[in-house]
């Protein structure tokens, strides 16, 4: 049972600091923060974040122009019937990405995060993306499945969403790939 603080103040007694004990500093309040230099550091962090932002955009513009840009995202819905170990992507039969998941990454996906697995270029016209998922399926069995999507690359950036969901009716994981409009 939780104890109550129940503060009822009587007449105060100022504690006399002992010679010995005063040397042992263990009783300052905890969770205090901020230093005089912190504001300066905060501004520098912001400036750096903005520089990083501009470099990311420049890099995308230069290396992944819209007419050839394709990005692939992975989302996980619930994830009760499948624990993700790795994903491999093939574009038109050629491997373009492979990712092994740490526990922390897999957890971030289950909690609603979405990972951009791949950002790259793709030829205009008809293409096929295939994703191979490896992990543990129902009852901890090794599980390997693939899903594909055909798409036509146009002049605008292409976004493809891979999705791992729980099919509650079949108690099996369900994998899909969709072109995001």
């Amino acid at each position: 049972m939780k104890q109550s603080v129940g503060v009822c103040l009587g007449s105060g007694r100022r504690a006399a600091a002992g010679l010995v004990v005063a040397l042992l500093a263990v009783s300052s309040p905890v969770m205090a923060e901020d230093t005089s230099l912190a504001g300066d550091l905060g501004q520098m962090k912001l400036d750096m974040a903005e520089l990083k932002r501009d470099l990311v955009i420049l890099e995308e513009d230069l290396l992944f122009p819209a007419s050839s840009q394709m990005s692939v995202y992975l989302a996980v819905d619930v994830g009760e019937f499948f624990q993700l170990d790795s994903v491999t992507l093939e574009l038109n039969g050629k491997q373009i990405a492979h990712h092994l998941y740490t526990e922390r990454q897999a957890d971030a996906l289950v909690r609603g995060g979405v990972q951009r697995v791949y950002l790259g270029n793709v030829k205009q016209g008809d293409n096929q993306l295939t994703a191979y998922f490896v992990g543990r399926g129902p009852e901890g069995r090794d599980f390997r499945r693939a899903t594909s999507v055909d798409f036509e690359k146009a002049f605008e950036p292409t976004f493809i969403q891979l999705n791992i969901a729980d099919a509650t009716a079949s108690h099996q994981p369900d994998f899909s790939a969709t072109v995001v409009e």
């Binding site: 103040l9 009587g10 100022r14 263990v26 901020d34 550091l41 990311v56 995202y73 995001v180």
Partner: protein, 617 residues
Amino acid sequence: MFRFLCELFLSCSAAVGEPLSVEELTYRSALFDYYQQDYPAALVDVLVAERQGRIGNERVKFDLARGSLAFEQGMVDYALKVFDSVPAQALTDLDRLRLDFHLARLYHRQQNWDRLETVLTELEAAQSALKTDMHPEVAFMHADLLTRRGEYARAGAIIDGISDSEPYRAYALYNFGVALRDAGHGAEAADVFRVLEGMPGNAQEVRDLRQRGRLARAYLSRDAQALEDARTILDDLPGSSRYRDSALATYGSLAMDQKDYELAARIWLTLRQQGGWQPSISLARLGFPMALQGMSEPGLVLAHFQTSEREYEQHLLDLTTVRRQSADAAWVNRLMRALASSGSVEAGLADLTREAGDLLGRDEWLGWLSAGDVQTLVDEWRTLHEMAQWLGSVPDTLDIYEQVSRRQAERAQELSHALADSGVLDQATAMRDERNRLTDRAAALDSAPPTMDESWMLSVATDEEAASIRRLLAMREELASSPPAQTGALLDRVNRLLGALFFQLADDYPNRRWQLVRQGQDLDESLAEVDASVGRVRRAAAEHREGVEADLAEYRARATLLSERVNAAIHDREIALGDLLQQHMAEQAKRIEQYLFMTRVAIAQASDQLAMAEDSR
């Protein structure tokens, strides 16, 4: 804290179901980094999304994320600016709750108590309206606010409302106890520490706070002259506690106060045998021979005091050396590097590299290192050092981008030339002309029904048929100008031929019209392919980003300026570390000098006693 952010910082629904929008994919990508506590990457994700216009109609959501991520990284002013910029009318009740929570944390960190009170009032009203429980961190902040205002009863009531399983309760109780003690309410403080000690849970931070609370309670009992209580409390402190040495020193002092010299001697000896110069061990060097005074023969006591004297003297020399070294910027830089490479200071002093230990000499640095100011400096230095490393790589990155951009510009020019030289554009023009002609012919056919006149027949006829028609018409014209008696039969024959041609054309007209349409369609398809090819080439040529050179120059300048500021800030931290070290060494030296003085007095007394004993013999 993490769970709370999940509830208030963002929507934690993991359900994906339908394909997500581009905006949602972008937002959740930032979440992916956020959930891995990679706040810098998450913030950059959000900034990029905003700049690229990928936030859709979710401005508030992205702003709250931006402010929160900035706050998590200590960019407090910026976070406040972002939160202030969120228009009130755009907020849902839940958004308002989230915003108030962020503001409360911000004001709490800034120790802006008036604003904190305002925001907490709003936050608690919103929580009540939304029928959500008061979050432990909110309760923690509120209790802290009330404690600082001396409203102890209200603070205690709020802490009572925090679940026993929440580490925030342990922090709140500890701070509350300290505040009560500092305000002179020792008995009440002891009660609070007792509640803290009774908290369940095995989380490291809670265990640590329980031990701190127990030690603080022991001090309170000792100060109140409740020495037996203090001993009982200390007896229960785990032997493996990080506060073991402090507790032992207190225990030793208590034993001395109670004249239990045998116990005191055992305690001081235990500490002393550990070696090193932590405060409790420094004290044990004096305490041990003092305890012996009450029960051993004077010669032995004197020998122990003399040993302590030599150790104190040597340590003072060591401290002087370290103080001299800490005035050397290069040495402090080495020290900072050693400390920063040791992993999280808080995670365990045992992780510190041997170099840091060697530089500072003995174990002196252990207590100093665990001080909040030093930890903050080391953490900030580490962050700045990482920033400097990244900024150092920017020029090379920009060089690569410059090469890529230059190559793209060349390629764009090559493509433009290739397009002009290939004749594709002329071919497209010719096809377009032909298409126009076909369109005109089809339009002409549609506009006039079959009529046996020249224009209609020629519009339908093939080239060969048109030639025949023209030849027959010319013949007819020629025959018409001759006497009918000579030409009648021939004219009839020409007219019959023309009539036959007309009927053939009229009969075949629908088919020929369809052929025209078909040819037009074929031509349209071919033209579309040519146009698409031309379009692709033109787009590829145009995709060369204009103004890259200017951008690159600007980014270089920004990186250079930022590098200078970061390096200056690194230098500031090193100076501050040197100052802290100097200050600490000065304090240490002062303390050791005190002990040395007391030791020398004791040596003088022991020598006198020995001399008197000699004389009396």
